[in-house]
Symmetry: C2
Subunit: 239 residues, 2 copies
Amino acid sequence: MSNPTAAMLVIGDEILSGRTRDSNMHYLAGELTRIGIRLQEARMVADDHGDIVAAVNALRGRYDTVFTSGGIGPTHDDITADAIAAAFGVAIGHRADAMALLQAHYDRSGQPFNEARQRMARIPEGARLIDNPVSIAPGFSLDNVHVMAGVPGIFQAMVASVLPTLTGGAPLLSQSLRVNRGEGEIATPFAALAAEFPDLTMGSYPFNQNGAYGTNLVVRGTDPGRLDAAMVKLVALFG
Amino acid sequence: MSNPTAAMLVIGDEILSGRTRDSNMHYLAGELTRIGIRLQEARMVADDHGDIVAAVNALRGRYDTVFTSGGIGPTHDDITADAIAAAFGVAIGHRADAMALLQAHYDRSGQPFNEARQRMARIPEGARLIDNPVSIAPGFSLDNVHVMAGVPGIFQAMVASVLPTLTGGAPLLSQSLRVNRGEGEIATPFAALAAEFPDLTMGSYPFNQNGAYGTNLVVRGTDPGRLDAAMVKLVALFG
């Protein structure tokens, strides 16, 4: 299947220390699947300049689109914008349109537009701003890399701005069947069925809920007719 | 801070498609922090042989310890053990002690120890088995790579077996202060405080709950006395 590909880079000490459980990657995964972009890899790195630069450069060369979350706020530990500029080898500075957006926002709210808040207008040269309807401070896109906030509500709003600008593929569909048997019992016929449908991917996911165990069998692909055909056979085998 | 380092590799199509939200990385992050091992990177890749091999080799060379989750069950989409063997350039086959463990388990439960179930005894040459008290099929460790199940209950049991075999460091401690001010208001004095304590890391995490917004300020390090000293100053500034 030749859907466009994507990767996500989650940036932040708080994720790797276990303080915060990331939710942005799971959210993005669902959104991309819906529009037919295949999320092929995700990475999580700390607020470390060298680690961010290395990860961005590895991912942007390999996948059609890269999304980052985290590290674009006003505090000293927010170093993502500088790292992205370094990864692309471009300059970074306070940009007039971002300054104007933020100035108007803080004027309206009667808060000082101080030096820390002005940091959020530092944008790498050549980037396009990503709208932030929640707290105004913009994200930005540079080439195929989309740099977004880590706060889930803002991240989601930024994803909503970016996705319509991307070329998707045929939606990545899935259907599943829950069976009350262990994986070891169904594995051989399930593998044979998967071999009959090389254009689909089939996965099995064991569960154990309230003492009942079983397996969720999931079929994925882009052709609804093929999915239906596979599900008919799956139900005949295990339904 | 010179704590031992670690990385985690989460393996599975179901994570990247958005079907399942990974919980193992967050669990492991908390456990490692407690024993003073610094989780520096996490990656998530699909059930793809080449992607798994490349990620394992990148991570095992760079970090003291690597943990993987997922892909060691009996079905055709479980390809992790073969990929690990390929990454290390070693052979893989059904191992006698793993076969004996599983044979006894299926004999007890009156289920056939069929070919699919026997796949779970395929272990790369030179590996040590990781005990699975939940469903018997073992994980394994090869050099500094620990290969574990994706089902959270089994993953956690395997982590409990592996951690006592590792050399930890001073526990990575953290203290936090919740302030009812935005990040932009506290950023400058907070950065100055962080500069006074170069042996600690300080991060700020904005929140917006039920219309109340504010910031959680988090101080991390290994020396409890230094953390206390920083917190006294933090409270004096913002408390």
